[in-house]
């Protein structure tokens, strides 16, 4: 079998899953990532929803499924290139070019930059965090605020940079709801005496096991859910965060002082994704994510038969969906390059 060279950009869950499949099928795979380590956001996570399994174990599995023959170019960014019929040339930031017969993009997402919602005080007040920083705290095993104290009251705020036209994001990032619930439960386990709040507009528990997690958070873990979006935060003399929201279910304004405010930031196309879309002229949707050919059938195809998309570069996705997409897209690419159909 003549070997076909396939380039995968992005070594997150989708890219790793795809690399594993394609390499086992016999393609010659090159995996590129801008970070020095593989795993993308997964490498910075502690536990996964809904089953609280370890992110690091999953990552090890995904990495171990990528055979050694796969060449790995880490810490390099694709900055240019051409997509031609049956061939793809990519230019890397160090100046070298690599050529392949097929391309699979799995360039993923960035977390919404919380600085953009100035009213929440991220980067201004000491004790405002994002969910990514909280995962690091869990990973390190220490929950403490900037002055080294153990927090006694914690508020999670949902929909930061999701469903918010003020920052030009009208879509729902869908994974933050359940992430907030999962992190609240983890907090409770670490801090049995703390008061833990979740402020939300809607809780969208769409996946298998999500609603049950929410149920447990209320019943077993005593998390307090308040339906109202926080609109303003201030800081007091002790560095605590004073938040203002409406408790919409009693129709009264609400003021609360907490030791930590955690912003559940939404997903936006990664900077890398946006750059590649510009460079190669890939179609993007109104949300800025790469737009595949079809909404249900061809969710990984582009107008170039030998270029596929996978994972959160096409829109907010759960980890499960990203891995599935990586595998599906790689099979489709394999079929295309090795003339399985036609």
């Amino acid at each position: 079998m003549s070997s076909k060279r396939i380039i995968i950009v992005g070594a997150g869950p989708a890219g790793l899953a795809a690399a594993g499949v394609l390499a086992r099928l016999g393609a010659s795979v090159t995996l590129i990532d801008k970070d020095p380590d593989m795993g993308g956001h997964l490498s910075k996570w502690h536990q996964l929803f809904p089953d609280r399994s370890s992110a690091q174990i999953l990552l090890e599995q995904l990495v171990s499924e990528v055979p050694d023959e796969v060449s790995r170019i880490m810490g390099r960014e694709v900055i240019g290139g051409n997509v031609r019929t049956n061939q793809v040339d990519l230019k890397l930031d160090e100046g070298t070019w690599i050529t392949g017969d097929g391309l699979l993009l799995a360039t993923g997402f960035d977390l919404f930059d919380a600085h953009r919602k100035e009213e929440y005080g991220y980067g201004i007040y000491d004790n405002v965090y994002t969910q990514a920083e909280v995962e690091q705290m869990f990973e390190n095993g220490r929950i403490e605020n900037r002055s080294g104290k153990i927090p006694q009251s914690i508020a999670f705020l949902h929909c930061v940079g999701s469903r918010d036209q003020k920052v030009g994001v009208s879509y729902c990032s869908k994974v933050c709801c359940v992430t907030g619930v999962k992190q609240a439960i983890e907090m409770r386990e670490k801090l049995p005496d703390a008061i833990i709040y979740n402020f939300y507009m809607d809780l969208r528990m769409f996946g298998q096991g999500f609603e049950e997690l929410y149920h447990d958070a209320q019943e077993k873990y005593n998390i307090r859910f308040i339906r109202g979006r926080i609109s303003e935060a201030a800081e007091n003399q002790q560095g605590k965060v004073i938040i203002k929201a409406e408790d919409t279910l009693t129709a009264r304004p609400l003021k609360l002082t907490v030791d930590m405010l955690i912003l559940l930031c939404g997903m936006q196309p990664s900077k890398h994704t946006a750059n590649l879309a510009d460079t190669f002229g890939f179609t993007t949707g109104p949300d800025g994510f790469l737009k595949p050919l079809g909404p249900s059938q061809n969710t990984f195809r582009t107008r170039h038969p030998h270029v596929m998309l996978a994972g959160a570069c096409t829109g907010p996705a759960t980890l499960t969906e990203a891995i599935q997409a990586g595998r599906s897209a790689s099979l489709a690419l394999y079929e295309q390059l090795f003339n399985i159909i036609n």
């Binding site: 009213e119 929909c159 469903r163 918010d164 036209q165 003020k166 507009m201 809607d202 339906r227 109202g228 979006r229 926080i230 609109s231 303003e232 203002k244 929201a245 409406e246 408790d247 919409t248 129709a251 009264r252 304004p253 609400l254």
Partner: protein, 111 residues
Amino acid sequence: MKEFGFQKQKDRQTDLDQIDLSQIASVLQIVDSWKRCIGCGSCAAVCTAGQFSSFNPRRTQMLARQGCYSTLALEVAKCQLCGKCRLVCPRDVDTRKLMHELKQLQISLLP
């Protein structure tokens, strides 16, 4: 017999079969962004009038949507039209213009 204080009152149901929403429809036409409200409460959270009075912009607009005119008339009068709510609405509802129009409507509804 012991008096429990229960009294039979007029039905408090919002009766959408009976309510005339034509006046609200005209406001909806002027402020069409109003249709997008999802009731998140951002406006009520920052409301300058709401922290010192019973005013609640989210509840007030909902009273209007459901045609509860008598309560609406009393509520919307408390709005100071400061426009702070407009800066936080995630659905970009022009809340200030809405309150301005509801004030206009409210006065025409008063006895």
